[in-house]
């Protein structure tokens, strides 16, 4: 297979708002990051790929087929939506195994594979808890478990790390990397380049509904590093976390926000994301969420598109 997804001049309108504007790109096998600020059209493209939306113009092929109302192709597809809503009244075990039975698996096999998938994402101990009691990071992992449990050819992950705590991030990134190592293809959207950079150098940049660049990530890294990268950290102990991060030479500033949140600006985001889990673990700090405001990437995109 030379191309997993091919889009040629794809446009999608929401009334008078343009979601995709003649988007063209070819997504190669392996892991590809779809990178763009919020509102760039990433989720619209993914919703077109899973058949949730219908294109208004252009040509879109998913694994060589038109995805709109295409039931058979869904056997080969795993989708992790951006939103964190789940069937809160089900346990994770019931949630994943029910969806697997929709893939045609017998009940016993569905149960076995659901448990394997939950183990893969590190949710075995919480598999019998109702999903409404899950944290954001756990929800992200449960969504990932249902997406990969039926061993699809292609995973479509819409902002899979959004709001995930450091532990969940590690699990999610490892799971995606392992899936690709076993021959699976992954399309992953993010507004944080550094997230996807840890998995692949193959990226497609999207802005205002258009594909503006694709290829190797390193060429635009230099541009992006000129802009300090902001990370919002949710923690019950903001002062202790600030004390731990302040000595890092690449941390440019730390700002205390309302509701037990910190805004940290770093000049070396990759180093920051690499070092953060160890710092948290060594000092036994509690971090409940990490979020990168999309103005980081927006600034870069404004620069790129002139």
């Amino acid at each position: 297979m030379t191309v997993v997804v091919e889009a040629t001049g794809v446009s999608k309108w929401y009334g008078e708002v343009l979601g995709l504007n003649g988007f063209s790109a070819a997504f190669a096998p392996g892991i590809t990051g779809l990178v763009g600020p919020n509102g760039a059209g990433k989720s619209t493209l993914f919703k077109l790929l899973i058949g949730q939306l219908h294109k208004d113009q252009g040509e879109l092929r998913l694994l060589g087929e038109d995805p709109w109302n295409n039931v058979p192709i869904k056997r080969r597809l795993g989708y992790c939506p951006e939103h964190n809503q789940l069937y809160g009244w089900l346990t994770a075990d019931q949630f994943v195994s029910s969806l697997l039975r929709l893939d045609g698996m017998p009940s016993s096999e569905a149960t076995r594979r659901a448990r394997e998938a939950l183990e893969t994402v590190g949710l075995t101990s919480a598999k019998d808890r109702r999903l409404r009691t899950y944290s954001r990071g756990m929800r992200q992992r449960a969504k990932l478990a249902q997406a990969l449990a039926h061993d699809p050819d292609l995973l479509i992950l819409d902002e899979p790390l959004s709001g995930a705590d450091p532990q969940a991030r590690v699990h999610i990134l490892r799971t995606i990397a392992d899936f690709a190592k076993d021959g699976g293809h992954v399309l992953m959207s993010t507004h944080i380049l550094y997230e996807v950079e840890r998995l692949t150098s193959n990226i497609v940049l999207i802005h205002n509904g258009k594909g503006i660049a694709s290829g190797n990530v390193h060429e635009i890294r230099a541009l992006i590093d000129r802009h300090p990268h902001a990370v919002r950290i949710a923690t019950p102990a903001p002062r202790a976390v600030a004390e731990a991060l302040a000595p890092l030479d690449h941390v440019a500033s730390i700002e205390f926000l309302a509701d037990k949140e910190l805004l940290v600006r770093t000049r070396k985001p990759d180093a920051f994301y690499r070092e953060l889990p160890a710092i948290i673990e060594d000092r036994r700090l509690e971090v409940t969420g990490l979020e990168s405001p999309d103005d980081n990437l927006d600034a870069v995109f404004r620069y790129l598109v002139g």
Binding site: K47, G51, Q52, V71, H83, Q85, W89, R101, G104
Partner: protein
């Protein structure tokens, strides 16, 4: 053959999830409480030893209270949640990214709705009837034709209202508001007009069924030239048409989730 069995197995999953959701969440508990209103009312009449409380009063009370309020509200609340709530909650992609067609999802949900709502509505109806007969000192089988008439009307009302409200739930963004207008305003007003206008309401056909099947009592005074069998066929055909329309709309629908 294997494909049919596999399709049925998938439909069973959606059916089971629907039943579980409709019966075990707060919505299910609230509608169960509403469905129990006839038991409370007739139980109170029995406890108060109201002398005029018998099977005739049962019929007089159960049409406006049970068929026109409890059944309409229960079917409205449950059927409009089938698809619309999944769209609003952003959970529909979990079903629609699996190899099951949209028509199969909708029909499986509808049958899940039927099972759940009948489970909510039939026991209170049976209990209300039993209270009435016990209060009158009659055997449970004494007025069984009246009970059968109400059971038939309840099943057909659940079928027809449910299919229509399911159609509304894929057609409009606020099916509950539109359904309230149709279920309570249209059905009450149009159903009460003289002449042929009531033919445009579901309640007209339900009353026609009750009129023919109940051997005595106030229901026989209802003016209708539609026989119970024709009324039943009309209601089943109406439900089938509403479901076909719902499937057509759902199949072509895009799902623009909340941001």
């Amino acid at each position: 053959m294997m494909d049919i069995l596999a399709g049925l197995a998938k439909s069973w999953v959606v059916f089971s999830l629907t039943v579980r959701y409709l019966l075990t969440t707060r919505r299910g508990l609230a509608t169960a409480a509403l469905a129990a209103t006839p038991i409370l009312l007739l139980g109170s009449l029995a406890l108060a030893r109201v002398e005029t409380f018998d099977i005739v009063l049962f019929q007089l009370l159960m049409v406006p209270l049970f068929l026109q309020v409890v059944v309409v509200f229960t079917t409205l609340v449950q059927a409009t949640s089938l698809i619309r709530e999944e769209i609003e909650d952003n959970t529909l992609p979990y079903l629609l990214t699996r190899p099951i067609s949209k028509p199969a999802v909708l029909l499986s949900k509808y049958f899940g709705y039927l099972a759940s709502v009948l489970l909510l509505l039939v026991p209170p109806l049976l209990a209300a009837y039993a209270i009435t007969e016990a209060h009158a000192g009659d055997a449970l089988s004494t007025d069984r034709e009246v009970l059968i008439a109400f059971l038939v009307a309840t099943v057909l009302a659940t079928l027809a209202y449910g299919a229509f409200f399911t159609f509304l739930s894929v057609l409009v963004r606020r099916p509950l508001a539109v359904g309230l207008g149709i279920g309570f305003v249209w059905e009450f007003v149009v159903g009460s007009f003289p002449g042929d206008l009531p033919r445009l309401s579901i309640i007209h056909y339900l009353r026609s069924i009750l009129k023919e099947l109940a051997p005595f009592g106030p229901l026989r005074l209802y003016t209708s030239d539609v026989s119970a069998s024709v009324a039943s066929i009309i209601l089943v055909a109406f439900a089938a048409a509403a479901l076909v329309l719902a499937i057509i709309v759902f199949q072509q629908s895009e799902f623009k989730q909340k941001a």
